[in-house]
């Protein structure tokens, strides 16, 4: 299997994982969306040098991943894939912000390093939560949930097409890579070969996309993707949303970080 093929299979795992019957997949997608949005707001609402106070929020992605039985290695791989973006966002901080800040008794660090750490932590928290929700819900159910919450259909349909065509484009690319290797192509292609490959890939993906779109039209597609799977809100969903939102509020409202901070400084000295 080429690298591209295994990367696609890995991405497809999100749908495969979501098709299993887990505590997370049984929840209404709307409950997961609302709670995760509340989580995102809570995490980004902190002042930029916050690190310790964010730690209790780790509980949410960890709980999602274990409820959805999402493999940690899969989450870690996807997180590593996106990590360079977060590093890029924060890497200038230690240079620009050299104000010394007290971390705990007697220990000081440049403010820039602390805010850099905060960015990385927030990135890990939010991306892990989002990945776990996708893997525990599936792209189609997620879009159905978004649509039910009032997201414009144009947006949810685009998201589903993006998801579908990622595999179309990736699949075409993987076949071309295999064909090149089969005829002795090794290593990175030269720029000229690369240009030609990319051009062919684009044309083939266009043709394929057109066939897919026609197949959808032939079955009456009119811009809205309908499903027989209807959304059902159960008491379990209310408990999930209320429980977590209460936890986020408690964690945000001084009490938890303070306790945690005391606990940590207590251990530290």
């Amino acid at each position: 299997m080429s690298r591209l093929e295994s990367a696609l299979a890995d991405l497809r795992l999100a749908d495969t994982l979501a098709s299993r019957d887990t505590a997370l997949s049984r929840l209404d997608p709307r409950a997961k969306i609302v709670t995760t949005i509340a989580f995102l707001f809570a995490v980004v609402s902190y002042e930029r040098h916050t690190v310790v106070a964010l730690l209790p929020f780790l509980l949410y992605p960890v709980a999602l991943a274990s409820m959805g039985e999402v493999p940690w290695r899969w989450l870690a791989r996807k997180l590593a894939l996106a990590a360079p973006f977060a590093v890029l966002m924060g890497i200038a901080n230690p240079v620009l912000d050299r104000t010394p800040m007290e971390v705990s008794q007697g220990v000081t660090m440049a403010g820039g390093w602390i805010s850099f750490g905060s960015i990385l932590l927030r990135f890990a928290l939010t991306v892990t939560a989002a990945l776990a929700v996708v893997a525990g819900t599936g792209m189609h159910a997620l879009c159905a949930g978004l649509a039910a919450l009032g997201t414009p259909r144009v947006f949810t349909a685009q998201l589903l097409f993006l998801w579908r065509y990622t595999f179309v484009l990736g699949g075409e690319g993987a076949r071309m890579a295999t064909a090149r290797e089969a005829r002795g192509g090794r290593g990175s292609p030269t720029l000229a070969v690369y240009g030609s490959l990319a051009g062919h890939l684009l044309l083939r993906a266009f043709e394929r996309a057109e066939r897919i779109y026609r197949a959808m039209l032939a079955r009456g597609f009119d811009g809205e993707i309908r499903s027989v799977r209807t959304l059902r809100w159960s008491p379990r969903d209310t408990v999930f949303v209320a429980g977590w939102v209460a936890f986020f509020i408690a964690a945000r409202a001084v009490y938890l970080p303070l306790v945690l901070g005391r606990l940590l400084t207590g251990f530290g000295g």
Partner: protein, 243 residues
Amino acid sequence: MSDHLVEAIGLSYAYPDGTTALDGASFRVAPGESVAIVGGNGAGKSTLLLMMAGLLEANAGEVRIGDVSVTPGSRDLVRRTIGFVFQDADDQLFMPTVQEDVAFGPLNLGVSAEEAASLAATALDVVGASHLADRPPYHLSGGEKRAVALAGVIAMGPNVLLLDEPTAGLDPAARRRLIKLLQAFEHTRIVATHDLDLVLDVCTRVLVMEGGRIVADGAPDAVFRDEPLLARCHLEAPLRWQG
């Protein structure tokens, strides 16, 4: 609808690059008839099918279903009447489970979720794929995918089935099952294919295409005996007649 004729009248089409795909193709298909369209690569078979389903507009000529001309305005009626099974089932299947995929068409026709689920169950039963209902389509075998794609179309209750290369890429057992299925249908069937043995089993009439025109129209037994015609159209007599 089932008693309506399907009629192509002087269909012509050239691709944007100037290649002629259809050059005045005309024929009529009676209700319940099973017709094959054969011809070499590039003879215009797929283009013709797309046009009959209203998925491609002709440069000249028209397609009529009964009294209705296939135009963007009559699209809804065409979708209800004509079912199109695409050559590559992967182009057609896209929902997360087989059941949802088969129910996609009926839902678009405006039936309720319960009714769509029951239509999907019936269609899956017809093609013998009920056991696949909860599976994701991308993990199925080629034959299973073809069966599910066919179910997705017949769930919409069409009167006319258009099939593009239905046996391409199938193993002999899956091909045999598909042939039995097509024989059992009472729909009007129009099958574009290179599989002339399938034509002998399923179709009572064959149209031979060459260069975007219909060059022969008759019973398969008679048409496939015309060796000069077959050779000119890049075809060969059915395998079972050879050797």
